[in-house]
Symmetry: C2
Subunit: 631 residues, 2 copies
């Protein structure tokens, strides 16, 4: 128990939940980390898609970034509308379900869950990518490093929301600060050098172009770069987290985030072009991330370089945290609507949805393993889910405003409609550009997910209808159960079971299975003396003994046959099987004493309605000495 507390902290009472209401300064790292962090992997992904262009890549990055910013702006305006409309938090699931019906909601939730899982994997591997750029000898350890960070994040998130928040503050501001300084410093150098700056640390030589730019290549680069836009929805999902005036603060936070993101994206594109920096092949020796090259070129490899790259590493890895915040909440909403088992809605001892966190960690870990921890192979799968959810959410908002009678609803509807159109169009581009690279997988995942969710829901509804019963308790036909006690010998363990049987029923059947290996004596010879006689002295019906041979040395078979026969003869009565069980209160108990456990499992699964299973534990001395429930 102590190890558990050390790792996960002490349990929290439900009333200890203080909504950590935050202001803008805290909200930017907590809610903006994913959006800001994607500024570092978006441009990199776009330029990696242009690898085949060699030197030419840096000429096109400006155009691609421009296109990305053109998508960003209406998305931003659109979410500005969502915030006041859903001050209780307008996640895509909620907005889509309320305005477009349950199917649209489920679709948004499925897309989002896929996206959150991908985001966790992409963010961690991008962080590790930054690390191995700075410390190249770590390159062979990419995958173990990714998994270590995943485990760390899982533990931190199981500890609770607050410990995650504390972790984010410093790296988030160090990241924004150092990247802004790099951009400003770089622009100054470029201006001073009349557009031809000399890099302090020269970026790796770029291989000559093997291909010319085609519309298809640029479209794919744009699609990859769109990963930079994920995370923008976080603020509108989390309006209740803000201090009052919630809506105002949320809108201001979103505005500041978008401004910073735009500056970073534009600045990186400008500097990449001015310094002729291009992407290097990921996962290959000599790999160096775009940001590492840029910061090195602008500011050299001094302390500033390590602070900047260190903060990139942290922010990227921690932006996986957005998934840890979002995924369990989506699962919870699904569980509350019975699309998932109730466990997903149950908050663990630290007030977080532990079940969702663990499922996320499992899937993200599998992804990292499958792709061996290299971001670039994961990116094709990424952003489809996010843009799907964006589009559904915006579309939901359009319908929301159509029904609204608020002043300005028309203007809001147009803005959200524009957002829906642009995100929808981007989604289309994404899907086409990346279909063959793996986007089909995301699309192929959606139908089975939808099917699974609705099957679980239907199952829940069926079971609930089945077990529903109103009205007073039926107290007719309360006959006492027939008790069956399988006995090996008449030791203390068996005697306890037999006494228990005598204390709860009058109709008792004792069964002894004679299997060759058990090395036991037939109870028959002394039954009268040992059992029948003392019970008859109480003027009660004595237990009936049946000795069964076991031709196949199998203990369970003959017992089940016996019970089946008993059920058939007494169709209206419960058959209570008392299982004498020797217990050591140790973890290895089930390793050694599994016969009783097996029997109980078998009876539960194969027994059927008339069978009731009673465990009569007998504790070996050391265990018994400890008080009951001593822990």
């Amino acid at each position: 128990m102590r190890l558990k507390e050390l790792l996960f902290g002490r349990p929290l009472r439900t009333d200890e939940e203080r909504v950590e209401q935050v202001g803008i300064a805290t909200a930017i790292p907590v809610l903006g980390l994913d959006a800001l962090g994607s500024a570092s992997y978006g441009p990199e992904a776009a330029m990696t898609a242009l690898l085949a262009l060699g030197m030419l890549a840096s000429h096109y990055i400006g155009w691609i970034t421009g296109a990305i910013l053109l998508v960003l702006f209406p998305v931003f305006l659109s979410y500005l509308q969502t915030i006041p409309a859903y001050p209780q938090g307008g996640g895509s699931f909620t907005v889509a379900r309320e305005n477009l019906g349950p199917f649209a909601g489920l679709l948004a939730a499925s897309a989002l869950s896929v996206d959150y899982i991908l985001n966790a994997a992409v963010a961690i591997s991008a962080g590790v990518g930054a690390l191995v750029s700075a410390v190249p000898f770590l390159l062979p350890y990419t995958l173990p490093l990714c998994l270590a960070i995943l485990i760390l994040l899982t533990v931190i998130n199981l500890r609770g929301v607050r410990s995650a928040g504390v972790l984010l503050l410093v790296p988030a501001y160090a990241f924004v600060g150092s990247l802004l300084i790099t951009v400003v410093l770089g622009i100054i150098r470029v201006v001073e050098a009349h557009g031809h700056p000399v890099p302090i640390v020269a970026p790796p030589r770029i291989s000559p172009s093997v291909q010319t730019a085609s519309a298809w290549l640029l479209m794919r680069a744009f699609a990859s770069g769109c990963a930079a836009l994920t995370g923008v929805e976080a603020v509108s999902n989390a309006v209740p987290v803000f201090r009052k005036p919630k809506v105002t603060l949320a809108r201001r936070t979103l505005t500041i985030l978008i401004i910073i993101l735009s500056i970073l994206l534009a600045g990186i594109a400008f500097l990449a072009r001015a310094y002729h920096v291009s992407a290097t092949a990921p996962g290959q020796p000599g790999y160096e991330s775009l940001l590492s090259q840029l910061v090195g070129a602008v500011a050299g490899r001094g302390i500033f370089y390590y602070i900047a790259l260190g903060s990139v590493l942290f922010v990227l890895a921690l932006s996986a945290n957005t998934s840890f915040a979002g995924f369990p909440r989506v699962c919870r909403l699904l569980a509350l609507d019975e699309y998932l088992p109730a466990e997903f809605a149950h908050r663990g001892s630290r007030l977080v949805y532990s079940c969702g966190i663990l499922v996320l960690a499992l899937f993200a870990g599998l992804l990292l393993l499958a792709f061996r921890g290299i971001t670039d192979r994961l990116i094709p799968l990424f952003a489809i889910g996010a843009f799907g959810a964006f589009t559904l959410s915006q579309l939901g908002m359009v319908f929301h405003w159509r029904r609204s009678r608020e002043p300005g609803a028309r203007r809001s509807m147009i803005l959200n409609g524009l957002g829906a159109f642009i995100t929808g169009a981007t989604l289309l581009v994404l899907t086409i550009a990346k279909f063959s690279e793996g986007a089909w997988l995301v699309l192929a995942l959606l139908p089975p997910l939808l099917f699974l969710f609705s099957r679980i829901r239907r199952y829940h509804t069926n079971v609930e209808r089945e077990i529903e019963e109103q009205g007073p308790l039926d107290t007719s036909n309360l006959s006492d159960p027939i008790v069956v006690v399988p006995l090996k010998r008449l030791d203390r363990v068996g005697r306890k079971a037999l006494r228990l049987a005598l204390s709860m029923a009058s109709d008792i059947h004792v069964v002894q299975i004679m299997a060759e290996d058990m090395n036991i004596d037939d109870l028959k010879s002394r039954w009268h003396e040992l059992v029948e006689n003392p019970v008859q002295n109480l003027h009660r019906r004595p237990p009936v003994l049946t000795v069964l041979p076991s031709a196949y040395r199998n203990f369970f078979g003959p017992l089940i046959g016996y019970l089946k026969e008993l059920c058939r003869k007494n169709p209206d009565r419960h058959i209570a099987v008392i299982i004498p069980e020797l217990v050591e209160r140790r973890w290895y108990h089930f390793l050694f004493r599994h016969r009783a456990t097996l029997l109980k499992t078998l009876l539960i699964l194969r027994g059927g309605p008339p069978i009731v299973i009673i465990s009569a534990p007998w504790y070996v001395a050391k265990a018994a000495k400890r008080e009951a429930f001593a822990g």
Copy 2:
């Protein structure tokens, strides 16, 4: 069920056990496989130890084989004595325990179990070594091939003794036949060529000597070659398997085996020297086993080569079967004396000791994995256990004859004493020569094994003393139990549990835990109407309802606190906790419905003597429709 029968055959009744009484012709493959098979890996192991001598190695192999034969002869005579003395089967454990006391018996059993595990691994990897010699492109698949054969042997042995026996006949005689032919043919060729035969297929060129022969090197080669002597004890262990006259047939079988083994060992040494054949580095490209080189040199690579090498492969791999026959029987004897859990003495549905077979397969598999399937690395660990058991067994026989008054007992004592001395001396040489190569591991394993066995024994004795009770059943103070029913809501599942409670006791406590996520209504408001009233109408005491809040959203904590309090207030009564449980009769039942399973486990392990656990399963419609025990 059908897959299981296909793999393992139909269950066998206990009375279907016919001791497969065999004659000499069948006994040679069944009992002699290990001894004969070791003729192929013993010389190879000795020559591998001489690798550093290059060309010189083949000059020394004659001397080393001579020394091995010098050990073999007294061991043979000694076992000839053991057979008539223990016609019921004189395994080392039995002989040592009966004559030298339980500790010596345990020591022999431990040494033997270690040896059996090593033998299974060595034999399989030697077989695969033969295969990859013949088919070199399989070399990279050494480990998977080893594991596949291990799994095959496990399945065959789980099927039962008879199927294993059938498998052995053909390859055993093909092996003996083709090796004898090779030896004879080779000798003819050598004589014809006046001592300088020309190999038909030239063996690989031998690297020049990097070292000169030292006593130490030769001693190590001898120690490695002693692996050829393992398996000799099999006949004397298994006298009951023979037809009458058992003892005569057994002695004759042993004699024939030893003659064949001696001819093979001597012949191989002679040919290796005449053809200048030496070992090649195992696990390296260009590796070719000694026998493959010899057969190729003598007879070329025609059909005969493939028959010979094929039979070597089969015999080696199947000589692992000796372990599968021996190890489970040693475990059984240990379990009968309570040194191991009773499961090891339980015969499975096919009349074999499945538990021991599985444990053997597990450990042999781990060894193969750890050594990546290369025999040579396993050989240093090998034979120490066997010679330890040999020595103890012979020593036991010495004491046996000392107490015997039979005529000739003195002569037998001397023969066994000689055997004990020689095997003991060989054991010493083995230990010294191979200590640094891994023999220390075998020796280091023995004390913990002995400790484990005696701890298990002591534990069993303690528990048995504790649960032992004579005399008639105590029927005093048979007060009916207090029944506690934890209820979530009053649905059909809960109602079944409540009716069960009413049918078996009068003192019923219902507990409702209010945990935030459970989305449930307080039962209090309608308790009177739904439950109290109908029960009072029967003139019975109605169940008492307690609603407990759960500050930590934990369901188990408050319930256990409540039970603890109840135990404290009613120290003399049983508390029966009825757990309402929704059951689907599917394998995934425990995946979804684990809350009830968890609660039962928790109550068993932490509950203590007064607590009794009752499962009241309620079956969802589809499951309930199927009849009870429908399977």
